[in-house]
């Protein structure tokens, strides 16, 4: 049986679904027994969703675009 620390050392591949099937089986065995790690996996997945689902942030790219446009026009001046 893995310890929680062992679990955590490998859990990145588990979360990203890139663990080998062997490793995966070991990790899932630990998960069945350990509610703490289940909670950590669950909340980490939700964290990634929150970070990734930037659609839920209403600030528009309007903040970025003027800067980028200015940068590109300065570059144009310097390269042509």
């Amino acid at each position: 049986m893995l310890s929680c620390a062992d679990f955590l050392a490998e859990f990145g591949d588990y979360i990203d679904d890139t663990a080998s099937s062997d490793l995966r089986a070991h990790l899932e065995e630990h998960l069945r027994e350990c509610k703490t790690c289940r909670v950590i996996v669950d909340s980490t997945r939700k964290t990634i969703d929150i970070v990734t689902e930037s659609g839920c942030f209403t600030l528009p790219a309007e903040a970025v675009d003027p800067i980028v446009t200015a940068v590109m026009s300065r570059i144009r001046q310097r390269t042509t």
Binding site: A5, D13, I40, L59, A61, I67, V68
Partner: protein, 238 residues
């Protein structure tokens, strides 16, 4: 001045570097033939083609820079220097990596140079020393999040918590998290861009995600979970 628009960075999910494939597609030299043609044209002296080539990645360059330098004005300088450098060096671009990866890599390197120049001694020693290596990270919060109501995701409090959480990450973790989870580079691409091993990227990514998790935990300050209670589980045994 800390206008540092973490919130702006968070928007860039829409500007992911690989909108057509989403997350984690395997890296390789998979430039579109249009890109290859544009690169040839630039290499043959057609500088207009460069702007078409760069256009899809302009925002990504700025946001990658911003993830390191943390303020708009510096990120603007870095983006400009990086794109100019790409222009000057494109004749030497050998297509061993994708153009976008190469371009972001230049931006990250420019940003690092800027940081070193601005806080010569602080940068490496504090980041690397005080905050330790890439060793284990022990989670701090043990509340069962259960379902996060979708309204909660639209709350200003969440955005604030997210900005604060991202700002609280050490730079080396923040950059990995932004490249991977916000800009959707693959592990391999993130490693290329940052000049790290893939194992190193994976370790940093895990730590970054766990630290974000702790920082965002509804039980942490409860700002965006008012009125709900969370069951707590047994803390970690290490």
């Amino acid at each position: 001045m800390m206008t540092a628009s973490t919130e702006t960075i968070l928007l860039s999910g829409k500007d992911r570097l690989r909108p057509e494939t989403g997350m984690g597609s395997p890296v390789g030299v998979q430039m579109t033939s249009a890109e290859v043609t544009l690169i040839r044209r630039v290499q043959n002296g057609d500088s207009d083609a460069f702007f078409d080539l760069v256009r899809p990645y302009e925002r990504a360059v700025f946001l990658a820079a911003l993830s390191l330098v943390r303020n708009d004005a510096d990120a603007e300088d870095v983006a400009q220097e990086a794109i100019l450098k790409a222009f000057k060096n494109l004749t030497r671009f050998r297509q061993e990596a994708k153009f976008s990866t190469w371009l972001i890599q230049i931006a990250i390197n420019e940003a690092k140079m800027k940081l070193r120049k601005d806080r010569r001694h602080l940068y490496e020693s504090i980041e690397e020393g005080r905050l330790g290596g890439d060793g284990d990270y022990t989670p701090q919060d043990f509340a069962d999040w259960r379902e996060i109501p979708s309204e909660a995701l639209e709350q200003k409090e969440l955005r604030k918590a997210l900005t604060k959480a991202l700002d609280s990450l050490p730079e080396k973790y923040r950059t990995v998290l932004i490249l991977r989870d916000v800009q959707h580079l693959s592990i391999t691409e993130t490693a290329q861009v940052l000049g790290l091993s893939e194992a190193n990227v994976k370790t940093r990514l895990s730590r970054a995600r766990l630290q974000m998790r702790d920082a965002l935990a509804p039980g942490f300050d409860g700002a965006w979970s008012r009125g709900r209670t969370y069951e707590r589980v047994r803390p970690f045994d290490v």
